[in-house]
């Protein structure tokens, strides 16, 4: 299972691309700036390249191999039609600056997807360009800041629940806000009274995740929104968990002003080992005018235009600026639209329902062997949350998670949300079959028992993975971040 590095197997003479031209006399149009030394990049022939990456891939786990119960990450099946569509030459081989008449289909994809996102969420408009969820959050918060500034309102505080994703406070801080925690009640939900008590003229916004990171729907969401609005603030919703409620309730009806949508979670664009993401942000009427450039607009003749600095008109003047060089994650838009059209309004609604049913099934089948802190709070949404209470001395959530690898599953999300000790956040999504979930439940029951019994073998799991536990402290102590020739 070992695979050497390209720097160890490749060399400067080998290559996997034929070129029509061999540089003998790089001519002088580059002035004095031509490269002098060796570039130091190893090459491989095509057969070696295919083998290297094929072998490497086999050291990875992916949804294609099995269950990926990663709470808050919505690891669902990535339909292969999406991949096929994204590779149609009319989508793959189009430049972002082509004349607008030659890209009406691309703008059509953006326009059609925007229509779906707006309609599903019950919002006014959507900013399509953000590159990922956190970028979308930033976009939303910048819209909020721009809107507040436009009315001359210099509020400085953003309220964030304790259970929020780390990106929430990071984003607020970046946008120049200080953040304060909102406490939770015993239920695992925002404490409405505490929130109301904190609201005031200094509060720019609250950032809420709904369904929240404990896997629960914020029952008081509408009341929260109303209270925030009444206090002159705006409501940001982290849309990471939209998969649980799509087609079941519209965030716009809950009073939300901005919410990013992770196309790579809810709408099945592949995670790809860490990206690319795509984070369009739906916006309420209050925020719509402040959305960043570029965006797609329908002209009177029915053709689609891309509004940029070049052709902005008066009604675009409130835009807060530009977040990225080009038009957003087009390749993800084609995939997400394909997914959406495949499911339709009925299929999306059913997917949300199945995802929630799967999570509740897991919650109820495991709560007798694992501590479920909010098990009594009623049905969960798309994820089931457990804690490590009852594990034997010295046994942790990490051990159980690594044990799961040996059972053929990807570990769940660990130690998040922070409000639960040794949290295990399990999100099955609608992708899993009942038989697959039953297998997972069996594995979890066995592991929970081993953690309670103090089975030592668990402490060194995984035993059947390409690697044993990796020494992360060693990596950080004296970071080795690029290959260099071994010494001596």
């Amino acid at each position: 299972l070992e695979e050497a590095l390209i720097f160890e197997i490749g060399d400067a003479d080998t290559y996997g691309v034929d070129l029509p031209y061999t540089p003998t006399d790089l001519p002088g149009r580059m002035g004095k700036f031509t490269r002098k030394g060796e570039i130091g990049l190893p090459g491989l022939s095509e057969p070696q390249t295919v083998r290297h990456y094929t072998r490497l891939s086999r050291q990875n786990y992916g949804i294609d191999l099995g269950f990926f119960p990663l709470g808050s990450c919505t690891m669902k099946h990535n339909p292969r039609l999406n991949e096929k569509v994204a590779r149609m030459p009319g989508f793959l081989d189009v430049h972002p600056m082509q004349p607008i008449d030659t890209v009406q289909g691309a703008l059509g994809v953006i326009d059609e997807l925007a229509h779906w996102l707006i309609t599903l969420t019950g919002m006014q408009s959507v900013a399509m360009s953000p590159k990922a969820g956190a970028h979308g959050e930033l976009c939303g918060i910048l819209c909020i800041r721009a809107a507040l500034e436009a009315r001359g309102d210099a509020r400085k505080v953003v309220l964030v629940p304790e259970s929020a994703h780390g990106t929430n406070p990071a984003t607020a801080a970046f946008a120049g806000y200080s953040t304060e925690d909102i406490p939770a009640n015993k239920d695992g939900r925002v404490d409405l009274d505490a929130l109301k008590a904190r609201l005031g003229p200094d509060v720019a916004a609250v950032m809420i995740t709904n369904p929240n990171t404990c896997g629960l729907f914020e029952r008081d969401m509408k009341a929260i929104s109303d209270a925030v609005h009444e206090a002159g603030g705006l409501v940001y919703c982290d849309g990471a968990n939209f998969n649980a409620i799509m087609g079941r309730v519209r965030p716009g009806d809950l009073g939300i002003d901005a919410m990013h949508i992770n196309l790579h979670k809810t709408f099945s664009t592949p995670h790809g080992g860490g990206g690319p993401g795509s984070g369009p942000v739906v916006l309420s009427e209050a925020l719509a005018p402040f959305a960043p450039l570029p965006f797609v607009e329908k002209a009177k003749d029915g053709s689609l235009r891309l509004i940029e600095e070049e052709n902005m008109e008066e009604h675009h003047a409130s835009t807060f600026g530009r977040m990225t060089a080009f038009n957003g994650q087009m390749g993800m838009f084609t995939r997400a639209l394909t997914y959406i059209l495949s499911h339709g309004a009925d299929g999306l609604r059913q997917a949300a329902g199945d995802a929630v049913l799967n999570a509740n099934y897991i919650l109820r089948q495991l709560e007798d062997v694992l501590h479920a802190p909010f098990g009594a709070s009623g049905p969960c949404m798309h994820e089931a949350l457990f804690g490590d209470a009852g594990f034997a001395e010295g046994f942790s959530t990490l051990d159980l998670a690594k044990g799961l690898i040996d059972e053929g599953f990807h570990p769940m999300t660990m130690y998040f949300p922070l409000v639960v000790h040794g949290a295990m956040l399990i999100e099955p999504t609608e992708t899993e079959s009942k038989a697959g979930i039953d297998q997972f439940i069996m594995a979890m029951r066995s592991l929970a028992q081993r953690a309670k019994d103090g089975d030592e073998a668990l402490l060194t799991a995984p035993h059947h993975a390409p690697r044993a536990r990796l020494d992360e402290a060693h990596a950080a102590r004296k970071p080795r971040l690029a290959w260099s020739e071994p010494e001596g």
Binding site: D11, V17, L19, L26, P27, M30, F33, K36, E38, I39, L41, T49, V50, L56, Q59, Y61, K84, G90, V94, P96, M97, G108, L142, T167, I245, G247, R248, V249, P270, G274, G275, P276, F320, G321, T324, A325, F326, G328, L341, G344, A345, G347, L357, N360, Y361, R364, P379, A401, K402, H410, T431, S433, K434, R467, L470, D471, E472, R480, L481, A482
Partner: protein, 453 residues
């Protein structure tokens, strides 16, 4: 529904186990007046794969694919031939459908690839350390500005006028919120970049100087000279590269005094895709500053059995640990694009990237010489790599549209990039990569002759 494995029998059995009468009952926490009792109105229902594919194909055919026209557009996104094996390999399910490698025992594929990618970028850029990629070049550029301000504890940013205006706009937008001070300018229409003009704008309050290499007009600035001037004032030199193939022929920025080198990696492996997803590259020359870098980093370590392995490291910089104190709010890289870039780079190797650069430059020289012969056309550049600026007597945007009507995608009018600057309207930025044939160049020249008044 083909993507949903639960049958009605399964659902019934599971609801029974859960103790709920229906799926709707699981949504009891949603206020009943807001709960939707059926599919959202005004949207179509589920469709067969065939129907969806037909619909999407119809949309795709409304676009003019670059392969179907003589193609000379660049300006920050470059069309190169991507070997078929790249796309094959990135579609391996184990790469495509993996999550961020937070469980390194079962993610060595992604992790080793990222380590190799970081190493490749560092060498291409002439830097010590590169990160595991960012959203795209423009956001990487802003992150570099923010890092330089953090490191220097200064707030003034000097932008070259010949920085891609979209990149400059991203920086300006972000700086509004961070309260960095942006000193920009318009590009000068000179055969060589106005390096001296840029240098005079650097002062003691300057945190960073941002220079594009080659610049938005295709010219090549003298990085070493600018670096020396910046360093003399305690400022960091940020070099932006939008065309990595150029670095197969040009000296690496890291070897010319750059402190931070950022860029767009799209040109290798990724394809045009109407603007995204792309791939931000980010590297630094001084490894001591690594803890101030944004983005994910992959590092080498060993496992419990002593075997070499790789992990994401130094994540204490990141938002899921540091929350509001993180170096950046970024929590996604562009993993799959990084993989595509890395595979393409592996196929090229030193010999390939050099040869590819040489072929681009050769064709660009031929094109520049040929286009210079078109009446009413002057070539601005004294030096260039695969992109240069033609000066016309009319607004180049109209010429671009006229060319497109004749089936030629002829470049980008500078008026589109710099709408506020009247003096640039006559500029036409033309890009020539290995995908252009000699016939394409001839077609561009003759069609340009036709459409010029």
């Amino acid at each position: 529904m083909r993507y949903l494995p639960l049958t009605d029998t399964d659902r019934t059995a599971m609801l029974e186990a859960v103790g709920a009468p229906s799926i709707d009952a699981l949504f009891a926490d949603v206020p009943s007046d807001l709960y939707l009792n059926g599919p959202v109105e005004g949207l179509p229902l589920h469709a067969t794969e065939m129907a969806v594919e037909k619909h999407m194909r119809r949309l795709s055919k409304k676009n003019l694919a670059a392969a179907d026209a003589p193609f000379f557009i660049g300006a920050g996104a470059y069309r190169h031939h991507v070997p078929a094996s790249v796309d094959h390999l990135i579609q391996r399910g184990e790469f495509l459908t993996a999550y961020t490698p937070y469980q390194p025992e079962i993610a060595q594929g992604t992790l080793q690839m990222l380590f190799e990618f970081q190493s490749q970028v560092a060498r291409l850029y002439g830097c010590a350390v590169a990160n595991a990629s960012m959203y795209d070049g423009s956001t990487a550029c802003w992150e570099a500005v923010a890092m330089a301000s953090r490191v220097t504890r200064k707030k003034r940013v000097v932008l070259s006028g010949a920085l891609h205006p979209h990149y400059a706009e991203v920086v300006r937008t972000m700086a509004k919120f961070t309260e960095d001070e942006i000193a920009g300018s318009a590009p000068s229409l000179t055969a060589l970049p106005d390096d001296d003009g840029l240098i005079t704008r650097i002062d003691d309050n300057t945190a960073s100087v941002v220079v594009q290499y080659p610049d938005i007009l295709g010219r090549i600035p003298d990085l070493q000279k600018i670096a020396d001037a910046a360093h003399a004032k305690g400022a960091k030199l940020i070099v932006v590269n939008t065309e990595p193939v150029a670095l197969g022929a040009l000296e690496a920025p890291g070897n010319l005094g750059a402190d931070i080198v950022v860029g767009e990696g799209q040109a290798l492996g990724v394809g045009l895709q109407f603007g995204g997803p792309y791939l931000g590259l980010f590297a630094i020359t001084d490894p001591k500053l690594v803890r101030q870098m944004p983005g994910r980093l992959c590092g080498e370590t060993v496992d419990a059995d002593g075997k070499r392995g790789f992990v994401l490291t130094l994540s204490t910089r990141e938002q899921h640990i540091r929350r509001e104190k993180a170096t950046s709010n970024i929590c996604t890289n562009s993993g799959l694009c990084a993989l595509a870039f890395s595979i393409h780079m592996t196929l090229l190797g030193a010999k390939g990237i050099t040869g590819l650069a040489a072929e681009n430059h050769r064709l660009a020289c031929i094109a520049a010489d040929r286009l210079a012969k078109v009446p009413g056309v002057t070539v601005l550049n004294e030096n260039f790599f695969n992109e240069f600026t033609l000066m016309l007597d009319v607004d180049a945007r109209q010429i671009v549209r006229d060319l497109a009507d004749k089936g030629v995608l002829g470049g980008v009018g500078l008026g589109k990039l710099f709408p506020d600057i009247d003096g640039l309207k006559g500029g036409l930025l033309v890009t020539v990569t290995e995908t252009a044939s000699l016939e394409d160049i001839e077609t561009l020249a003759t069609t340009l002759e036709e459409v010029l008044p």
